[in-house]
């Protein structure tokens, strides 16, 4: 990148079904943790990723509301949205703010409060990430879209339901070592295959859950970070952002996530790294099939060969290319707007060597990949321990 940016503070709210806490409460909880962790006495501006506080909570204008309740009064505050990639987008915009010279210390956060509506309300709100007129109108759900990707991957490359299940098993193993995870239970392949089918071939244990939660990080220029030095230095060395067709059916290859591929290439090029230089990955496993397609799109596996990634143990925390050591969206939970920031939190935790049981050995470079809808948008960030 033209200018080094450092992550100097990280924070999470509790994640789960937080009926006692409001959207504003959980966001502020995560932001106060991040500010405290960073040691800064003020922030110059803030960015909030949130997918649909309108449909989930009848509340837009989140930027003003959350700055108010964070007690930072009059500072510039911006909400960004790119469906489930809203958190990653907040991260990018916070970086641009610093790179532009406009702000010195910036908070990037994400939040979604999903349990203030019932399951049907949540289904409808999440469907707004797809093309309402040409996908949702026809009756398809989000699991249905990813199920069609899975079906095609199985037809074309011989990927099996067992291989999908192995992704969930691996991510729940990781989640069992993360005290912040919403579902820290270990599961096995049979449990996945025997769980209720949501949209063939995807079972409920192939899907990420509905979660209330928030995450926040504090960013500043690397120079400013050196003055603070509360923590080991973590710098952002690359970022990528790309889009694809909104509708899944408009893509030439239904199983190819071209926005992921492009965002990955941009971020790697900016950081001067190759994919093999990355020590660990947090990727957007909203469904088990998503993790498989993402690893292929990032170039970790050849096209069609991602199915065996989890089953082979390669993507386990103690394997050669650890993926979703946090438990991923699957086990850690998926409050959609918060997910992209929580991925950064996990990578920073690992690069600081504070990940406890699930610590990846010699973790120096990490990559986050956050995706909107059925792959219509993607944000990739690369972080390095200095």
């Amino acid at each position: 990148m033209q200018q080094d940016i450092a992550v100097i503070g990280i924070g999470l709210s509790r994640w789960g079904e937080l009926w006692e806490q409001s959207l504003r409460d959980i966001f502020v909880e995560s932001a106060l943790h991040a500010i405290k962790d960073s040691g800064v006495d003020h922030i110059d501006s803030m960015y909030v990723g949130s997918m649909s506080p309108g449909l989930f909570n009848n509340q837009e204008h989140l930027a003003a509301l959350l700055a108010d309740y964070l007690g930072v009064g009059s500072i510039p505050s911006t909400r960004v949205e790119s469906a489930c990639a809203s958190g990653g987008l907040a991260m990018k915009m916070a970086c641009l703010d610093i790179m532009s010279g406009t702000s010195e210390i910036v908070l990037a956060g994400g939040v979604e409060k999903m349990t203030d509506v019932d399951t049907d309300g949540a289904t409808l709100a999440l469907a707004s990430a797809a093309d309402y007129a040409y996908e949702v109108y026809q009756g398809v759900t989000f699991p249905g879209l990813y199920a069609m990707i899975a079906r095609m991957h199985m037809d074309k490359y011989g990927t099996t339901e067992q291989q999908l299940a192995e992704v969930a098993v691996k991510n729940h193993l990781h989640g069992s070592m993360n005290s912040m995870a919403q579902f820290p239970q270990k599961i096995n392949v049979d449990a996945v295959l025997n769980s209720v089918v949501i949209a063939d071939p995807l079972h409920i244990l192939d899907c990420s859950p509905i979660t209330d939660g928030a995450a926040a990080v504090i960013l500043c220029s690397a120079e400013k970070a050196r003055q603070l030095k509360l923590h080991p230095q973590i710098r952002i060395s690359g970022l990528g952002h790309a889009t694809d067709t909104m509708a899944l059916h408009s893509r030439e290859d239904i199983t190819a996530l071209s926005a992921v591929e492009k965002a990955g290439i941009t971020a790697l090029k900016m950081s001067g790294k190759k994919i093999d230089d990355i020590d660990l990955f947090e990727v957007h496993d909203c469904f088990t099939i998503a993790e498989i397609c993402i690893l292929e799109a990032l170039g970790l596996f050849p096209k069609g060969k991602g199915g065996n990634a989890a089953a082979s143990g390669k993507t386990r925390f103690d394997g050669p290319m650890p993926v979703n050591t946090s438990g991923g969206l699957k086990a850690k939970g998926h409050p959609v707007g918060a997910t992209g920031i929580a991925q950064i939190v996990e990578i920073v935790t690992q690069l600081r060597e504070q990940a406890g049981e699930r610590q990846v050995k010699n973790a120096r470079v990490g990559l986050t990949q956050n995706m909107g809808g059925s792959g219509g948008s993607c944000l990739v960030h690369i972080l390095e321990a200095v």
Binding site: D120, A127, E135, G139, M148, R151, V196, V197, D200
Partner: protein, 129 residues
């Protein structure tokens, strides 16, 4: 479902009206203002053929409230003769016998009833040939 929105989509949903780029021949469905392949802004209006091939599919077992009385039902991506793809329900079929590559016929059907306004929403569904 708002009435103006329903009304303006009729040409797409009833007649499969599409646009064929006058410059490169690429077909867009629904109609667009600019060709994503060549950036040309002139299109001929065409009606898509009603025959195609199933590319991929799923069976929706947990549906939204609007479709819950139809579940389980199949959905799929169908490539029409012109190369254009649409997403639609696959109906009048045994949902356990669907296979990619099956030939499909596009038919005009009721999609869902809108409880709050009482409006019945029509559009296209596909049926195995």
């Amino acid at each position: 479902m708002a009435i103006p929105e329903y009304w303006r989509e009729i040409k797409h949903r009833y007649k499969l009206e599409a646009g064929k780029c006058k410059s490169c021949g690429y077909i867009v469905f629904p109609m667009r203002l600019i060709c994503p392949k060549c950036q040309n802004q002139d299109f001929d209006s065409i009606n898509l053929s009603r025959e195609g091939t199933l590319i991929t599919y799923s069976v929706i077992r947990v549906a939204s409230s609007r479709f819950v009385n139809q579940a389980p039902f199949a959905v799929g991506i169908v490539e029409l003769k012109e190369g254009v793809r649409i997403l639609s329900q696959i109906t009048d079929c045994n949902i356990n016998e669907l296979k990619s590559g099956m030939k499909m016929q596009v038919e005009f059907r009721r999609i869902f009833d809108d409880g709050s306004s009482g409006v019945i929403n029509y559009g296209y569904k596909c049926v195995p040939m």
